[in-house]
Amino acid sequence: MEAVEVEEITRVFEPRRRSGTRVVALEEVSLTVPTGEIHGLLGPNGAGKTTLVKILSTVLLPTSGKARVLGHDVVDETEAVRPLIGIVFGGERGLYWRLTGRQNLEYWGALYKLSSRGAKARAQQLLERVGMVDKADERVEEYSRGMKQRLHLARGLMGDGKVLFLDEPTTGMDPLAAREFRSLIGELRDEGRTILLATHDMVEAEMVCDRVTLIDRGKVIATESPRTLGQVLSRFQRIDVEGVPPAVLDEIRAMRGVMSVTAVDGAGTRIEVDEEGATQLVLERLVDAGATSVRTSLPSLEEVYVQLIGERGMEI
């Protein structure tokens, strides 16, 4: 059985005020996540990731379309869906700040129908897992942001959900915590869980996912393997330089793999490369020409999208 099936889900937000605008957050989105997969939902801000995650977790109704979790409809069979899912809605949500970490977890354990003893044991186990045992009996309001996030994650796991929805779980985490978190995702999969991970971070999606669905402005653009994504990432590079004579720039413009050379404000120039290996050649030429302050960076997700969409001849 598929863990998650989404069939042509559309979600429209009607304006709250007369002056507001109508937002089509999802437009006929379809995707399938087989059991045991870590599936990425990758898209820039406003793409509709959270909206989809909320619909799948039964807290938001779709405008049209169907979605099922382990075979159960998320609108008509919420009672069957809810015990099967765990949700981590990013940041520090879902916690009572005046209560201690442990009290919070035990409360959620009871809501997931654990016995009092079962909830205590599971809370302790998860506190250990997220490294929060020391602080477990302090009030959440005393926690740092990172600690709240870890507790929030433990909260999402209290129910022992078979399908986990993680919405930008590493936003705002320091790199070390984010790395630990990613290895935790792997462990969760090894326990047989299915994970849908919404993120705007290409590198994260590439690192942890088995497959990645790219979405933008409410539409699915493609479902890719992380390898394809990795290739895209290593192919596209952006180089910002200053102090390069115009003649050299013309020369670079003509080089193989160079997509564009544009002046950016002041003396700077941005060179965009879309072929593996080309970056190296461009950099060498720049250094020869005595360029100052050479910086390379990854393109933004939006830019990668533009490329992918361009190649596929798709329209937005």
Partner: protein
């Protein structure tokens, strides 16, 4: 059942963490002193029990309205409402558990006014019909819990919490005959009052503290319970409606 218990324990922790939410327990003895002073000044010692019971009912009603009433709204602001809805336990049962704890706390005001009356004026609660009194208090707390579910649901829908609290507190103390028996009020109020469990509670509570045998006790207690149950069923229906509407509009979260 587990939801009820979870709610009960949660509220215990919440109240322990913010004791200032128990203002009604501070005001109840003060109101008792004021009301006792008034009836004694008027030479109506026969009304002393009435003066003592009014603050108890006011405390229970205030806790149901304000503390319990704001629960869902507070959960929404704390971003707890969404995960709560996504959990397999029904929100209604958690809510009832939380309210039940608050009602137990509210009943403490009974002992407070007893103590305050005795310490300040040497007036004790006349336990003429103790069993009937205990049952009336219990039935009243249950009915209040039913009303609190309705309050919590209505609270989420109202834009202005103050307007809601003001219009649902003192007017109901009057309509419910909490301060003054409905029989002393203009006749047109009576039909309105008679559908409020509060007026039945208030009358019955006063009757259990007076010497003559309580007239039709079981029938009147039944009215408190039935009207309370109707309030609860209505409240639950409003709650389901409100939650469904929030899921449809995407309003379970604040941002």
């Amino acid at each position: 059942m587990r939801g009820l218990l979870a709610g009960f324990r949660l509220e215990l922790h919440v109240v322990r963490a913010n004791p200032d939410s128990l203002i009604p327990l501070v005001t109840a003895p003060l109101f008792a002193i004021i009301f006792l002073a008034i009836v004694r000044q008027g030479g109506r010692s026969d009304l002393e029990p009435d003066a003592l019971m009014a603050p108890v009912l006011m405390s229970l009603w205030w806790i149901a309205l304000v503390q319990a009433g704001s629960m869902i709204t507070a959960d929404r602001w704390q971003a707890v409402l969404e995960p709560l809805i996504a959990a397999p336990t029904s929100l209604a049962s958690v809510l009832v558990g939380r309210i039940a704890f608050l009602m137990c706390v509210g009943l403490l005001s009974f002992f407070e006014v007893w103590l305050a009356g005795w310490l300040i004026f040497g007036v004790s609660i006349p336990f003429e019909h103790p069993l009937e009194l205990a049952l009336t208090l219990a039935a009243t707390a249950l009915a209040m819990a039913g009303a609190a579910v309705a309050f919590a649901a209505l609270f989420v829908m109202t834009r202005n919490a103050y307007t809601f609290i003001n219009s649902a507190s003192f007017p109901f103390y009057v309509l419910g005959g909490v301060l003054v028996p409905v029989a002393y009020l203009p006749d047109w109020i009576e039909p309105v009052s008679s559908v409020l469990f509060l007026s039945w509670s208030a009358d019955l509570l006063r009757a259990t503290l007076k010497e003559p045998a309580v007239d039709d006790f079981w029938g009147r207690l039944g009215m408190v319970l039935v009207l309370g149950a109707i309030t609860f069923v209505l409240g639950r229906a409003i709650l389901f409606y409100v939650l469904h509407r929030m899921r449809a509009k995407g309003e379970l979260a604040t941002a």
